[in-house]
Symmetry: C2
Subunit: 352 residues, 2 copies
DNA sequence: ATTCGCTATGTTACCGATCACTTAATAAGC
DNA sequence: GCTTATTAAGTGATCGGTAACATAGCGAAT
């Protein structure tokens, strides 16, 4: 006869009290062995550690968090997992956090501000000790929840005019301006750009900011904005660039320089040009953003604007662990990690 | 004079008892409004919900987990965040899990089995209700901890000969075999392959399995294995492919077909060939694995082996939510999501 | 010798939910 | 009209840790 109780019940995991019983000390001593080992006499410590390994005891952080009111993790909301630069941010951040025994909890919202808000709601229930999220544009509900959370908030990858609290990033508008100036200074006649469209809550707002910076500089230089093309929706990638440049070339075959809001699109542009027999850079100069690896590898290699995303992630981590997480009254900080043009051969006039 | 106590102490977040006091019900009724709203009278429910919003109450899941012994999340350990196919697995999985109110906790180990074990240790302290990890090769300590965790374990992206428990994936060895047969059948004379090296705990064991399958089939066809090149370390990407094919071509200029363990390397191969004036596919045929978007966009487009990683993630989620998480005595399952060759123009003989 | 101070360890309450019961009130059945 | 279900809400214990304080033991200082 089977015993349904015994067979369906998982064996209970050992607790700190099981360890204490086995090692003949109080549960508090076990707790000390784990969190502050050098406050326990070496002999006792050894005995407890033996009991821990023999039972396979793993402390329950949910219980620990509840008691200590410290969850031990930081929440990160990214637009997407599948982007090398965001992945690098996550790595830089998590490396720094790990050193201080914080874990990073990563969520993503697929470039949707409504999803961002609902992810935040979920995360808040886990009581993160800090919240890192991407971009300067959020729903009002998101901003309100962030304020109510009472923990440090860091916006990354842009520098909001009015940050919620801390910000670590770079000026996306300046990215667009630099790109436009670069083309204007080199005497291009028909300067275009490609990006995606933001509709309602959905879209790549930082990409759009780059595009607006580009437009602003074109306007300042007395150029037409007709060749700035917002096509499709985020995330943009190779296929997006190919489609977008196809449309642009069909309508304006005389375009001689194009800025793509992402290297990934820019690579698509180069590929589509190859297929159409449009020579890059002789017929069309191309510039991207983000310095993705693929841009270095294609032929011609892509001129782009580089941001040190690894350092960005690290800075966020350092700011949190050294300041914001230590003293919750620390002043809000905005940190610019800067930009760097990387000239390669996809723009005419630059020889390499 | 400042009051250090009041200024440095964060305002305590409202608890379920604050809500109950404000709405004049017991804390248990508040709990019911949140978890089983239709077991509460509509009028009461409304009153409680009002109190919840007016206080900005967010339930504390750490407390809930402790009490209910259900953490509400599933842990996923990936080799890296920065890989489109792993990102897609995560998406498929998290979409299914979200429908059942599970959250996905993502960790990554940079292709390092020691890091995998330490990530697992961290995760275990958060009491995941299931653990999903990549690949068939793990450290003994990892396997032992998984067994002791007493929760469903799913290995993905390969089909271990002896799975720990459940497995959802495909045969990496078969991938290599298919690639080799494809080349052999088409009459190539000097067939090579490129991948990376596994050293100690570090490396791409699935990629290496593909390479071993490739070698096995070459051997079966009486071919030499001299052109199978293990170069560098995981993760492999564009630059890896370019370097590896450079070496291979330098040493064996007569190679006429090459399989790369990843499309990303394969793209690097194509790019390096362009730079060297080696024509693809006329001089060298190239085949990849993974059907990454970039492979579709380059010229010539890349022949590859496709795995439906989105479905893979979904299957894992469905298996967990429908079976393994419901009944902890469910039989271990191995599920093959299959493979599909996608013929494009990077292999000679195939016209498109 | 007494006090003080320090170290190692123990005791108890508590963090904020949910579970398992209990109770009160209302509806249904005969 | 009385018993029995059924529904709505409440009570108290508990999950597994940590905080805060208490205590015992022992060497150094007075």
């Amino acid at each position: 006869m089977s015993n349904p109780e015994a067979s369906s019940r998982r064996p209970r995991r050992p607790t700190i009290r099981d360890v204490s019983r086995l090692s003949g000390v109080s549960h508090m001593t076990v707790s000390r062995v784990i969190s502050t080992p050098d406050r326990v006499a070496p002999a006792t410590r050894e005995r407890v550690l033996e009991a821990i390994t023999s039972l396979g005891y793993v402390p329950d952080r949910a219980a620990g968090s509840l008691s200590s009111r410290r969850s031990g993790f930081v929440a990160l909301i990214l637009p997407t997992l599948n982007n090398a630069n965001f992945a690098i941010v996550a790595r830089g951040l998590s490396e720094v956090l790990h050193r201080q025994a914080y874990q990073l909890l990563i969520a993503y919202d697929d470039y949707d501000l409504a999803a961002e808000e609902s992810q935040l709601t979920q995360l808040l229930a886990r009581r993160p000790e800090a919240i890192v999220l991407t971009g300067a544009v959020h729903r009002p509900g998101t901003v309100q929840k962030l304020a109510a959370a009472g923990v440090p908030v860091v916006e990354i990858s842009d520098l909001p005019a009015r940050p919620i609290q801390h910000a670590v990033g770079f000026s996306n508008e300046e990215v667009g301006r630099i790109a436009a100036r670069y083309f204007i200074e080199r005497g291009f006649a028909h300067i275009g750009a490609i990006g995606s469209r933001c509709v309602g809550d959905k879209g790549d707002y930082r990409g759009d900011t780059r595009l607006r910076g580009f437009e602003a500089e074109l306007r300042a230089g007395g150029r037409s904005l007709d060749l700035v093309c917002r096509y499709g929706s985020a995330p943009v990638s190779f296929g997006h660039g190919a489609m977008a440049i196809g449309r642009l070339l069909d309508q304006n075959p005389d375009v001689d320089a194009v800025f793509a809001v992402s290297d990934l699109s820019a690579v698509g542009v180069v590929m589509e040009c190859q297929r159409r027999g449009v020579l890059v850079p002789d017929d069309l100069s191309v510039m991207g953003f983000g310095d993705f690896e693929i841009g270095r590898e294609i032929n011609p290699a892509l001129t782009t604007i580089h941001v040190d995303f690894y350092a960005l992630g690290q800075r966020v981590g350092e700011h949190l662990t050294e300041r914001a997480l230590v003293d919750c009254n620390v002043d809000a900080v905005s940190l610019d990690v800067g930009l760097r043009i990387i000239e390669r051969s996809s723009v005419k006039g630059k020889v390499r």
